[in-house]
Symmetry: C2
Subunit: 255 residues, 2 copies
């Protein structure tokens, strides 16, 4: 088991940011500057395809959870993303995606296949990450754990949550059901799921089929008008309230 | 044009409740006890079938909007509901609904037909209500106006909003698309729409078809697991945040 090594630390506006590695996987842990209390909830996040652990979508969501709820938030670079090297397979798949995009062909089949490959590499990394984070004295094993990832973050998160009982609430969204629906059927924790009604890549039927697959007794679907990249910012606030309801803590995020 | 006559007044926990009549239609107006300011938003609500203007769902939503946002909220008894007399037609339709329910037959065809009849009577009443409310000096014509009604409140609200340009944001949900979808196509204001994924009366396809019909550029669908009467209470908080976003005012509702 790899332990977590901190490599850098900074803080701003009440949030401490610590870069770390677990084995050769680089990540970032955001925590309240005021210090965490016992049983402080932890949210693991997964970034979107082509992005990285400190993309503004990640740091922005982290700020809502840390400043608004007093939670810890951790995210690692996915395989082939951010500060991590690309394999020849990564390069080939990315080239194929760009070729299809330029040719106006559907991206779905390539993204589904490549994300499945990335998830097979990333799930063991997230399991090791959670082990290592829970060894930190300021986190420990008592606090509840959530997962939040959209797009590629869902492709990694669904197989992760399907095998990891420590995660007890999750926010997913915007992915094709191929590969993932069978794994979603094994998930019973509360879920919030986002999809875009006018998504140019994922059809309504595909998005609804993935939401439908979760075995969760409590699940919510948030559909918004707009294209794939137009997920409204207020859905991040909604996700934070979802985690506050299920993991505890007071969401003080303004409307 | 009928003017509004107040018939009773009480207050509790920072909210003033005033009963009124407009013509022969009884209603209730809830307002902040601290007094309204210029351009204070107003939300008109429509209650559910078989309920009335002061059902806990109405007074509870009003408290969120008045105490949380400082808005005015008004609701009237629908025709044949609450303090209003039933016509022979009302009695016959209600008897038919109860018969179908006891026989295990689908309620949809009866509810769709009867709600359409009620909406034809109620829409002019809501238009007169809004005229009369805007004649009150503490409301006036400058503040933005919203509409919030689920179930029968949607059956009345969609034809109302389709013809009333003063209403600029609306929360609807849980109704069949028959009759209403054609009217929804004329609605372009921001919409939040609730449906239940396991509704025993309204199929998923029917619920989605009504959401899809709105011509609104900004529209959000909130689907939750559970049966017809199990709409989660946090959807009321979400609706309040929706009105705060679109009509102004600070939603201070806790998560």
């Amino acid at each position: 088991m790899s332990s977590l090594k901190f490599t850098a630390e900074s803080s701003s506006n009440g949030m401490v940011e610590r870069d770390f590695t677990v084995g050769d996987v680089p990540g970032v842990l955001w925590s309240p500057a005021s210090g965490a209390t016992d049983r402080t909830p932890l949210v693991l996040m997964g970034h979107g395809g082509g992005n990285h652990k400190k993309h503004p979508a990640m740091s922005g969501r982290a700020r809502l959870l840390v400043a608004g709820c007093g939670f810890h938030v951790a995210v690692v670079d996915a395989p082939g993303h951010g500060d991590r090297p690309r394999t020849a397979h990564d390069e080939a798949e990315i080239a194929e995606l760009f070729r299809a995009r330029a040719a106006g062909e559907p991206e779905g089949p390539i993204v589904v296949r490549y994300n499945d490959h990335l998830a097979e590499r990333a799930v063991p990394e997230y399991l090791a990450l959670l082990d290592a984070l829970q060894e930190l004295p300021e986190i420990g094993t008592e606090g509840p754990v959530g997962y939040w990832g959209i797009n590629m973050g869902t492709a990694i998160g669904i197989p992760l949550v399907a095998v990891e009982p420590r995660i007890t609430a999750a926010v997913f969204g915007q992915h094709w059901p191929d590969v993932l629906a069978e794994k979603a059927k094994r998930i019973t924790i509360p879920i919030e799921f986002d999809l875009q009604w006018d998504d140019e890549h994922i059809s309504r039927e595909e998005g609804l089929a993935l939401f439908d697959a979760f075995a969760s007794k409590e699940k919510s679907l948030h559909v918004n008008s707009g294209k794939h990249k137009e997920l409204p910012r207020f859905e991040a606030d909604s996700a934070v309230r979802f985690f506050a309801r299920h993991l505890g803590g007071a969401a003080t995020t303004a409307a």
